[in-house]
Symmetry: C2
Subunit: 391 residues, 2 copies
Amino acid sequence: MTPGRPVPPPLGKPLILAEPPVEPAPADAPAARGTLTAAMGATSAGSGLRPLTLARREPKDDDVEIDIEYCGLCHSDVHATRGEWGSRPYPLVPGHEIVGRVRRVGSAVEDFHVGELVGVGCLVDSCRECESCLEGLEQYCERGNVGTYGVKDPRNGGAITQGGYAGTIVVDRRFVLRVPEGMDPASTAPLLCAGITTYSPLRYFDVEPGDVVGVVGLGGLGHMAVKIAKAMGAEVVVFTSSETKTAAAAELGADRVVLSRDPGAMEAAKASIDVIIDTVAAPHDLNPYLRALRLGGALFQLGLPPSDMPPVSPGLLIRRRLAYSGSLIGGIAETQEMLDFCAEHGVASDIEVVDAAGLNSAYDRMVAGDVKYRFVLDTKTLHTPSEKADA
Amino acid sequence: MTPGRPVPPPLGKPLILAEPPVEPAPADAPAARGTLTAAMGATSAGSGLRPLTLARREPKDDDVEIDIEYCGLCHSDVHATRGEWGSRPYPLVPGHEIVGRVRRVGSAVEDFHVGELVGVGCLVDSCRECESCLEGLEQYCERGNVGTYGVKDPRNGGAITQGGYAGTIVVDRRFVLRVPEGMDPASTAPLLCAGITTYSPLRYFDVEPGDVVGVVGLGGLGHMAVKIAKAMGAEVVVFTSSETKTAAAAELGADRVVLSRDPGAMEAAKASIDVIIDTVAAPHDLNPYLRALRLGGALFQLGLPPSDMPPVSPGLLIRRRLAYSGSLIGGIAETQEMLDFCAEHGVASDIEVVDAAGLNSAYDRMVAGDVKYRFVLDTKTLHTPSEKADA
């Protein structure tokens, strides 16, 4: 399986089957239908989000069942549910920024206990055997990681994974994170995607006090990049096309703001930055940002634009030995490290809590860029699950 | 001064002045006209190479005067003398792969002695004060390095530097390399550009035994990349569009050859390479090569195409945390390290020696790709210098 390439459902698949096996179920597949839980999901690309009932599997020996308290709304949820990234299996319950408390554990689970605050991010499994997995880089699993929603789950009969806009979730203990007590569950939820996605390249580049970090784009990912880079001791420069974001950047802790449309300001920023975290998912010209990098600097692109980017100038890369790089979320151990780091440094996401009924308008506001900086679903506002599973 | 951006001469500049000061000469500028030497250079973009007489400066306290024995022909010499990289100051004597013996030294030179085998590469000076220079990365001098030919030399009255297709050259001791005795002068010459340009990114990536190195393009740079990577203990894979190069690649020591036009071969090479040295200077699609990189791999582009490259796919960079990078020659200390490494491992360039009268046809053959793998000028074949300097 290729990461991020979910398998479309068979034609004519009925909606009523809970976590339908799309391949013959192995002999050890769980027989039980599991617990029904309320969820919000899409039944087609055009359906918007609507109430559904999910049947979660009965916890197996290594499983942790979690009562979800909050789930962050990631821009990729919008793309996935609306079918903007290609065909998806429906019904589809998105959400991979999950914080909740342990409800039940399987018989082999010793490291999590009922009532503990835990998190689940973008991954719920991987092959566990390839070089990447053995190095704790499950996000780069060579056989394809198992995303938290919308992909086949080989260890669970090939069922399509369903995400965190729901009352509960069941996840193998190896993919459950410990949320340090004292962290606010709602504003911690976005750390599981937006937080780790920006933390990982900053760590990979080995950002230290005194380094200068540039952040392009001040949305869900960008605002986390500013906070985390500051907590790492870096000087932070925000590049923005909008003068109106200057004050907001300063509030987040940015040391300087550079207006990317101002050629003089961009010229003044030339060769001044060690590493740039580019969070803009629309096609845009990277060369002005590459010019801002010092010798040996790197630009990490985190967003995947829907069409080609303008070409990067090899001359810029050659003349200052720059690297144009990318980075994908983070591994499980690194995600735990990030949570501990954020707890230690008091880093959390700036959020706006929404209830289930407000999800669709929250999506519209996300598309319009009208959120500072992350919506988080309060799962207490979900409906009561029906007696029959929709998905 | 921007590296590689030579300053055009003032209009109407007479050709007879030796190393003309294009800015008012400083008070300590050498008064002497220096020694006349035979050279081959261009007097205009269309002139081809023709016999000229250069007046080299009298050695200053820190200077080393070198009797040039051999000078490699680099593809950039063709671009520069033909004006293909923008306007150049003429007359222009190219050549930055220089090996010869010390003829005279200035009064402050203690580390070089008359008769020693030495080399000069692409740089003859830099600011010596910026962070890059202090780190031994003179090629990335923040104020612009001083190239061996065609640029203003601030410490020598702003004279335009003239390269190694000549009988002698005078260079500050800090930019003179020691060629280990026992190395063949002719086949060592190309190491000063083609060698260091490929050695530096391989070292920067920290190539070790067991790593897999890919080489794209099997010309002057590519054949050095194969030899140096093999000497570093790597497994070497050559990507070529021409089936006829398979045997040649094997002769150089390559372990495998992948035909880049064969989709099946490229698919089989997927995620198998740690670092790729791309030596192709024409615009080409890098995405097939990026697909061949393992997690955390890097592609170093060394050639500067005359027009835009097709865009790189950010998704490839993101899904395997790849780096698309560039690299520019190497610093002086690293160039010395490279020469010592090549001496230790018996690495030299595969060359064809040409005489002065054959330079223009050698250029035509280089443009046609008809050389295995580097032409080297034998300076014994130069004419006798006139009594008056042309440049």
